[in-house]
């Protein structure tokens, strides 16, 4: 496999403008002749479908939920970054670019990240025009706040529901195109395969989740906007339906998978309370603006938090990182929480939690002020835990939240399969080894509103497309394959439920491919995951109804794919003999316990290529060139 990142020539800040001019266009009258299949309706998929419909393409949009408005982008709380410099505190496109490259621990492409920073300003304009009710100041201007790891206030927000409001904006725009007849909506459909004809992505196979029928759709390009794979860990902050199946099946059809080991563990989540737990809930890290993180100084101190005097508390982030304090990037905050809990200083019933304490801020700003900023988050915390955070500190613990890895794409967001574009969290491209807070929403919308309209047009204008029908052999073969996998799953009739397998996989992943990894653990995972996978195919038990709504059957297919993806993640993590961003290998750390990169050996993207069933995947490398920033050891002291 040859990887060509297709990064345009020229100075960094001029690349995107130049490229936009160099790319070919599709005549407005010809656009309706092209059918574009968009899978997923989150910020990336929703904004792409809306924009392409508006331009006049014939768009078909697919989602697994009952409505496109439910995609998991909706749960993003904190905000969206943009280099507007409305706060006059020294922000610029260059600074957002620099912060994102540095935050990603120098494992992202300069050109992609700079484009993202450039487009960030257009996103805010677009969303305001849609009627997104961003927070405002009394004078009517937009309000900004600083957010995890940034020293400028560049984050725009709508209470703690920024993702919801941005998604509803994109959803509204998309529904306008549905009304215009340019977007056809197919809800409750799960993509099971990609159809490749003459080397180009030309269609998809989906399962209608209501009646179990396998359906085929053909088109001229496929946009995969299906989010990340955090649910490989079973417990994560992802929605229950979030999964990697569509992306994984594309991988098996020839799309390279980039940096699968880069996962982000979010520092502020509500700790697990029992085995029955189905998911973890994130508390926005905006809380770290006003909350102070601490644990008792002494091991095993089981006193209630208000019984522990100030001198016996360790505000460890403020102590270790005086200039960033509680606002260090996510990976640093998460690892430190794990470290203090590993030392036996964790709090709560399980000892796997640290305090996030608002009492100083409440004293300084008043309860009303805190309530205005975080009221809905405090309410949510109380509903779940039964504790009132106005009176007692929150208990928080890190949880899997986001996956920086994903399908490999070039500068045009195209995968290694021509005609298969990958947008948003599903691709690997912009966040390197660690994503900064409030940057996921930015990337999803930049890809959908402002990048894909240009790069897709160029692809369509520079390629020829043979006439195809949904009953030709490539479609019938893929349909047959999807059907036979379902038949096989239903026929196993074993003794263990899908959830039991998923939970076991999650435990292996969390213990050995999680927040801190080492060679021994990764080798163990590489031995155990295939064993569990074999057992799954021998012993899974699924309610035997393939012709109607059967969520266990849906989950079985997803867990089957997670059981393969988990192995690739461990393989990638084992190969990367360095620590960078969210990938922390215990063998590679500085004397202070920070991530220690090996730039000589690992300044590359690991793009894995499927080699066939039971064969070792092939590693391809895309070297990362840094021409504009100087690689340095990240320091937040």
């Amino acid at each position: 496999m040859k990887l060509d990142s297709k990064i345009p020539d020229g100075p960094l800040a001029e690349k995107w403008d130049k490229h936009k001019f160099d790319m070919k266009l599709v005549n407005p009258a010809n656009r309706r002749k092209y059918t574009i299949l968009v899978v997923g309706t989150g910020l990336a998929g929703g904004s792409a479908a809306a924009t392409l419909g508006e331009l006049g393409y014939n768009v078909k949009s697919f989602c697994i939920q009952d409505s496109p408005r439910r995609a998991h982008s909706i749960a993003a709380q904190g905000g969206i970054n943009a280099a507007k410099n409305y706060s006059n505190d020294g922000d610029s496109v260059w600074r957002l670019f620099y912060d994102t490259i540095k935050g990603g621990d120098y494992r992202a492409r300069e050109a992609n990240v700079h484009r993202l920073a450039e487009l960030s300003v257009n996103i805010i304009d677009q969303c305001v025009a849609q009627g997104v009710p961003f927070a405002r100041e009394y004078g009517g201007q937009l309000d900004n706040r600083s957010f995890g790891g940034a020293q400028v206030s560049r984050t725009f927000y709508a209470r703690g529901q920024t993702g919801q409001q941005l998604l509803l904006g994109a959803y509204g725009s998309m529904m306008r195109q549905v009304d215009e007849g340019r977007v056809m909506m197919y809800a409750r459909r799960e993509m099971l395969d990609l159809v490749v004809v003459d080397g180009k992505a030309r269609g998809i196979i989906v399962r209608n989740l209501i009646n179990g029928k396998i359906e085929s759709y053909s088109g001229d390009a496929v946009l995969l906007c299906t989010g990340g794979y955090g649910n490989v860990f079973y417990l994560s902050t992802n929605a229950k339906n979030s999964n990697a199946t569509a992306a994984w099946r594309c991988y098996k059809k020839g799309a390279a998978f980039g940096n699968p080991c880069y996962t982000q563990i979010h520092p502020t989540c509500i700790p697990q309370s029992g085995d029955y737990q189905g998911k973890l809930t994130l508390m926005s890290e905006s809380l770290r603006n006003d909350g102070r993180v601490w644990v008792p100084k002494n091991k095993g101190d089981k006193r209630a938090p208000d019984q522990i005097p100030e001198v016996e508390r360790d505000y460890y982030l403020e102590r270790k990182y005086p200039s960033f304090g509680n606002l260090v990037p996510r990976d640093v905050a998460s690892r430190n929480a794990k470290a203090v809990c590993d030392e036996g200083r964790g709090v709560g019933e399980t000892g796997l939690a640290v305090y996030l304490d608002f009492s100083d801020s409440i004293q300084r700003l008043g309860e009303a002020d805190i309530k205005e900023k975080y009221g809905n988050l405090f309410d949510m915390y109380e509903r779940i835990t039964g504790d009132n955070p106005y009176q007692t500190p929150m208990r928080i613990y890190p949880a899997v939240h986001y996956t920086m890895g994903g399908l490999w794409v070039d500068y045009n967001l195209m995968s290694t399969i021509p005609g298969l574009f990958v947008l948003g969290e599903a691709n690997f491209s912009d966040h390197g080894a660690n994503r900064l807070g409030a940057s996921a929403l930015m990337q999803g919308l930049a890809d959908g509103y402002f990048v894909i309209p240009y790069t897709l047009a160029d692809y369509l204008a520079t390629n020829t497309f043979s006439k195809i029908t949904e009953d030709q052999k490539e479609f019938t073969a893929a349909t047959q394959e999807a059907k036979s996998q379902i038949t096989k799953l239903l026929s196993i009739n074993g003794k263990k439920t899908v959830t039991e397998f998923h939970r076991e996989l999650g435990k292996i992943m969390w213990d050995h491919v999680g927040m801190a990894r080492n060679e021994k653990g990764l080798k163990y995972a590489l031995k155990e995951i295939p064993k569990l996978r074999d057992e799954f195919w021998q012993n899974v038990m699924i309610p035997r109804d393939g012709d109607s709504l059967n969520k266990n059957l849906e989950f079985a297919g997803r867990v089957a794919d997670f059981l393969e993806l988990g192995e690739l993640m461990a393989r990638d993590a084992l190969l990367r003999n360095e620590s960078c961003g969210g990938h922390f290998r215990e063998e590679f750390q500085t004397p202070e316990g920070e991530a220690k990169r090996d730039d000589k050996k690992f300044t590359y993207v690991a793009a894995w290529e499927y080699a066939g069933k039971d064969k070792k995947p092939i590693l391809n490398k895309e070297p990362l060139k840094f021409e504009n920033v100087h690689l340095s050891q990240r320091s937040y002291k």
Binding site: T51, V128, L142, G386
Partner: protein, 252 residues
Amino acid sequence: MDTNSKLTLNLKVWRQKNGSAKGKLADYKLTDVSTHMSFLEMLDVLNEQLIKQGEDPVEFDNDCREGICGMCSLVINGVAHGQESSTATCQLHMRKFNDGDTITIEPWRSKAFPVIKDLVVDRTAFDQIISAGGYTSCRVGSAADANSLLIPKDMAEKAMDAAACIGCGACVAACPNGSASLFVAAKIAQFSYLPQGKAERKKRVLNMVGKMDDLGFGDCSNHGECEAACPKEISITHIAIMRKEYVKAAFS
């Protein structure tokens, strides 16, 4: 800190094989339910037991389990999303129940939301209402600088109050008339507060209300059940705003 205890529950759950089949309440007994569990985790435990016994699990819609996606949709003891106020089903926890309780669980019941299976209903009618006008028609790439439009803080806050709707449909399920007025009014009110919504103001309210009527939702007769059931505390005053907007649009 909240303490953990165990409950024994008698569940009466609506089972219906598909849209055309006749449904009925089935009885299940569940023991050792931790009070830390969420309501949906309790149903997960029930389903694991049913699968192990070779029975079909209870199908119910859910996704984010953080009270924001609007997918969960259960009528619990006759109340949409249960007795706990301003709480979606997924955020309801078992500490709100007592040992020995009988809990009845049913789907949303409304003509416009037909049952698909068990507790799962079809809410595409809501998408159709939004596609009739729940947006501003602004082309991508054509927007002016975001701060060129000044919106007073209180107006932005009011718009946000309305925009907080998660589209779950509890308002419809709770309404004796099966009206979608609160859902429609929340969207119309959001745009009525904002300058961005002005250009299409009349068309929006006429089309969205017209679509709501076409889809078989009932009329609003001011019961206020919708507001009581709403997990996001969307105020019924938005319905007054919708009416004002409608009258202004219809008679001008």
